[in-house]
């Protein structure tokens, strides 16, 4: 009856991910699918205990004239498989994000990532210490969004607090990324003080840990992050991001003083990542740093992002301390691929499914490379990523009894 309990627990855990009715109205086609899937879970449970199903699969064999001849084995030989277990000299740093009241912040919960002892999900070797987390993107002004994404957030664009609430309560986000792009001198050139007002509203609206994102201008971001650190010490934000062309020492100092964690962003080059981490190590602890090694979309350089991250993770485990940090991925970049959003010929439609599957495929590829924190966009993609991370850490033995049923499935 162990499995029953397990299922029940998992359903409870997943409740946050279920999509509510008003969202479902907007999801149109997807709505039906989601509900039916949840109904199925209960049905599968029942099927699990139906005996005798698999017995029909294998016919009873009695072929004449097949006795052992000429040294051929007459019965199954035994050849045990030796599991190839390796030991690694190092483990990945563990980083905690968010702080509760007793820890000096205002968050209702905290998220810890990293701490791996093996490559991603080599659970035959070591358990996965923490499930990878998902943080959803929220922007403080209108941005170009693909249709498949926009249909889910159109009511909250322009209202970051409402957007954050939607992300957490309806889409199951573990965290929220507040992108303060309005401070961009080339966009609205809002002041850091204005931006902090937005953060205050989001802090009020949700109780999950926050990622604070800048605009990409090295000078303006430094000013923004300095103000954020001055106004919100102790919240244990993830400051996203510090890059090589910023005043790294200055940033590291005010981030340290406010007790936040930092996202070290480098453009797809492990030497740059090492160099930036070295600078940060002068001021911050390993437990304060997450790396963003750059995410390219499926079809647009995902292979490079994947290999870069896989190498970084293996290097980190093998003792390269400059790479032994948890990794974050801007998985939303998947939508930069035109195949994710473009209306294509009927053979490839509907894009409402193709698009989020593009984001899922990008995310799961990087999940197997070792990413610990996913910055994502589409609710269906988020749900699948969370489901898969639950599956990969469920420690439930796959039941071989009915596996061969697939041959006769009448699909």
């Amino acid at each position: 009856m162990n499995s029953t309990t397990h299922h029940t627990n998992d359903k409870k855990k997943d409740e946050g991910l279920q999509l509510s009715d008003d969202l479902l109205a907007a999801l149109a086609k997807f709505k039906k699918i989601e509900l039916e899937d949840f109904q199925l879970e209960a049905k599968e449970l029942e099927i699990l205990f139906e005996p005798g199903m698999a017995a029909n699969v294998l016919p009873k064999l009695k072929l004449p004239g097949l006795a052992a001849v000429g040294g051929k084995p007459a019965s199954l030989l035994s050849s045990p498989f030796l599991p190839p277990i390796e030991k690694y000299p190092n483990r990945i740093a563990e980083v905690k994000l968010g702080a509760t009241k007793s820890e000096g912040g205002t968050r209702g919960k905290t998220i810890t990532i990293g701490g791996e002892l093996s490559p991603a999900f080599y659970t035959f070797e070591n358990p996965t210490p923490h499930k990878p987390a998902v943080t959803l993107d929220v922007f403080d002004m209108e941005v170009p969004l693909s249709k498949a994404v926009k249909m889910h957030v159109k009511d909250v664009v322009g209202d970051p607090a409402a957007w954050a609430k939607l992300a957490v309560e309806k889409f199951g986000a573990d965290m929220v990324t507040m992108h303060l792009i309005s401070v961009d001198p080339l966009l609205k050139d809002a002041t850091p003080k204005d931006a902090c007002k937005t953060i205050e509203k989001v802090l009020q609206a949700v109780d999950v840990p926050l990622v604070i994102g800048g605009c990409g201008d090295p000078v303006k971001d430094t000013a923004l992050f300095e103000e954020v650190c001055a106004q919100f010490p102790g919240e244990r934000f993830l400051i996203s991001s510090v890059t090589r062309d910023m005043d790294v020492e200055k940033c590291a100092k005010f981030i340290k003083k406010a007790g936040h964690a930092v996202l070290a962003f480098t453009p797809m080059d492990l030497n740059f990542a090492r160099e930036l981490n070295r600078h940060l190590f002068d001021h911050l602890k390993r437990e304060d740093i997450i790396m963003d090694l750059t995410t390219a979309a499926l079809g647009y350089g995902l292979d490079y992002a994947f290999t870069n991250m896989e190498r970084a993770r293996i290097g980190g485990l093998m003792g390269d301390l400059e790479l032994a940090q948890p990794m974050s991925s801007g998985t939303t970049n998947a939508w930069a691929a035109r195949e994710a959003w473009l209306k294509m010929s009927a053979d490839w439609e509907p894009r409402e499914l193709r698009g989020p599957l593009w984001e899922v495929t990008t995310a799961l590829t990087l999940l197997t490379a070792g990413v610990d924190l996913f910055m994502m966009m589409h609710p269906a993609a988020v749900k699948t990523l969370k489901d898969v991370t639950n599956y990969l850490t469920a420690n439930k033995k796959a039941d071989p009894a009915k596996f061969l049923d697939w041959v006769k499935v009448k699909a």
Partner: protein, 477 residues
Amino acid sequence: MTDMAEKKKGGLKELSPIAIYKNLPKTNCKECGQDNCMAFATKIVNREVELEACKPLLKPEYAKQYATLKELLKPAVKEVVVGVGDKAKKIGGKLVMYRHELTYKNPTAIAIDVTDEMPESEVVARVQKTENFSFEYIGNTLKLDMIAVRCTSDDADKFKACVKKVSETTKLPMILCALNPQVMEAGIMAAPKARPLLYAATAQNWKEMAELAIMYDAPLVASSPNDLNGLASLAKTLQEYGVKDIVLDPGTFANEGLQDTLNNFTMLRRAATKAGDELAGLPLLGIPMVAWANKGDTADDLIKWRESYIASMLVVRYADALILHGNDGWSLLPLAVLRQNIYTDPRKPVAVAPGLKVFGTPDENSPVMFTSNFALTYYTVASDIESSKTNAYLIVVDAEGSAIDSGVAGRKLTADKIAEAIKASGVESKVKHRKIISPGKASRISGEIEELSGWKVLVGPRDSSEIPKYIIDKWQP
């Protein structure tokens, strides 16, 4: 040398060019395209050329040396051929575990199923749809590879008729799926020389299946779901029995079974590549189609979604062949693109040469645009301009191989570089206007570009598919 290193085959670092050279004909004939035999040996060690490029080596007098070299270069995962003729598919043949070690060989073969209880018209339609699947992607055509024929009827005659129909409809290799050896034999007899992959030998039926594999010279799948001891034992038994080509099925499980699935595939591949385990060193078959078993009332689209992401995870985690049921373009395209991505050369630069590219026959009033030198960005933009037959100049800026948005964000595509590129391109002597169209995703830096270059920047569309329309609607020199 340790035991493990001795056993390891195909390892790149263990092989020296000298070891190869010693066994070459040493004629320095240059027939292979290299300057001499030593240069050829170096290329061989780096896996940049095939041994068979050395024509003298294939002569009878060098048979012994050829065999020695073949053994030295044997991959960690055996290569198995499914099917015959032009469409025959090689699976396995892997040399390494991790992509960064060396380009993966033989992209995961993707099979789509039909069953012997489908109406004939549906069988034909599904086979044709599989055969006609085609997507143009940076100079490659993405295709599907095989047809899995499943016996759901348990009727030998029906299975035979279905296999016959499939083999008349397509030359794509087949995977015949039937656990009853009598049914399987009926199926093979419909295409006795087609060398289909037989699915599958189990602990129950292995002897009869082995006989069929030997008799028809067909590769055989050993299936032992979620039991690697059982799988190694079965593979060992089949080998001893005389089956030449074996493919492993460690079981594919959806949902919570994914954890064991990934562990099994990963352990097998690591045992093959890092520990020289020859029984693990056989191609791996993944079956994302299991998502359709016990589907209940779940919507088909959700099953296709699940099947697709399981397949994608198995492309990354070492599957050499996959069987799927869902054949919608939206669910197969991400998988096909991912497979192409994972199997590219990790060492090959993604960038194209920066500089001025000329499209059509532009004149002094034609539009000037810029883009980054990231290969994918460039080819996408170039194909959009070409297909619309627009006459234009395109300045390819050295953005260190970044796409537009990540290049701007990561300061690899800067106003400085763009201003420099405009100057270096010589376009100022080719047009009399001073207007340049910027990608929409680089709009942030358009002001800076104007300041530094003195050119007026027109912010173009965010996606290059809209360039032709933009030029018709907006371009004025």
